[in-house]
Amino acid sequence: MENFYVIGVYEDFKLDIFPTHTSPIIAERINGEYRRWAYRIESPYKITLTHSIGGFYKTPTSMFPYLTYNLSKPVRIRHNSQIIAISKYALLVEHNKTIICLKIMKSALKNIKNPIFIHRSYMTIKNVFS
């Protein structure tokens, strides 16, 4: 998956649901141009790319006739990467479960006065391992 990146997520964060796993928008990048790919998520957890959708575009934004999703800075993806929205502006793309947990716990500490965020952090850590 050398040329494949997470360029955003199939979600528009209009409600506070952080932190949470979310579905990545995956694109192939060749010569600076992006092409979207469809994928299947296997259990045990594995992202399997199935086929490309449409052609190459100069920017991720131009891939969508109507943009109702959240785009982000491209981050390289692996088959076992988990994609977690820590906030509207912070997307974690990481395969190492220990690092994921540490990052979620760090953000939980920052939001220690928000019991709902703490509860969702607990749920998300459970989701990381299930």
């Binding site: 199939y10 409600l15 649901i17 979310t22 109702t68 749920m123």
Partner: protein, 224 residues
């Protein structure tokens, strides 16, 4: 014995005779409708017969709503248009009917009466055919029904096309459409969304119709 068998088949058919919608939190107005709140953000929305397309889902979302036939019949006044084929797929070139686009879209167009009749006839098919319908696969038993409503060029296009979007059976409703507890069979939401107050209200209102799933695995792994 025969009656019992017929009844159990009717119950199974009833469970599969659904409409669905995949949404992201961009469609907050739909969640507000369920909660009984009027929203200025309301807009025309598209729905389809059967499950969302999932092999794999091309445009993903986080929430899946499954609705029963009353959703269509109660919204007769808001009905805008129906089509057996995904009209967005034709407009944006993902499906190529090899006809003039506008003319082909006109051939697909269904008003309420036509779409309701089509839906009722399709939902009465035997279980095996119904299973194909809700998963957006072609089946020979659809043909006599389609022939009553569409021209040969539409039917030929559908049977020659492998893309499940050619068998979407979509319809659109104007923004004033109703979506209430009565219309909903199930609503699937990520387990992390449940602690948000909007989703919590929906859970309170719909009780056991709200089913949670682990969002790490995406909507295709939601419980059935």
């Amino acid at each position: 014995m025969g009656n019992g068998k017929n009844r159990s088949q009717k119950i199974r058919n009833h469970k599969m005779a659904i409409f669905s919608k995949v949404l992201t939190l961009n469609k907050l107005h739909m969640l507000e409708k369920i909660n009984g709140n009027l929203s200025d953000a309301s807009q025309t929305d598209y729905f389809n017969i059967g499950m969302p397309i999932e092999n794999p889902p091309l445009l993903r979302g986080s929430i899946v709503i499954e609705m029963n036939i009353s959703f269509l019949t109660d919204n007769i006044d808001s009905f805008e248009a129906g089509s057996p084929v995904d009209t967005g797929g034709i407009k944006f070139g993902f499906l190529d009917p090899k006809h003039d686009k506008e003319l082909f879209l006109q051939m697909l167009h269904c008003d309420y009466t036509k779409f309701h009749k089509l839906t009722k006839e399709l939902f009465e098919l035997p279980l095996n055919s119904l299973n194909k319908l809700v998963t957006h696969n072609a089946c020979p038993s659809f043909k006599p029904i389609l022939e009553k409503h569409f021209t040969n060029s539409v039917i030929e296009f559908m049977y020659n096309e492998k893309n499940p979007h050619a068998w979407l059976f979509e319809f659109s409703l104007r923004k004033e459409y109703k979506l209430t507890e009565k219309h909903i069979n199930k609503i699937h939401v990520p387990n992390t969304y449940l602690s948000n107050s909007t989703i919590k209200n929906i859970k309170y209102k719909l009780r056991n119709k709200v089913i949670t799933y682990n969002p790490k695995y995406g909507i295709e792994h939601r419980g059935r």
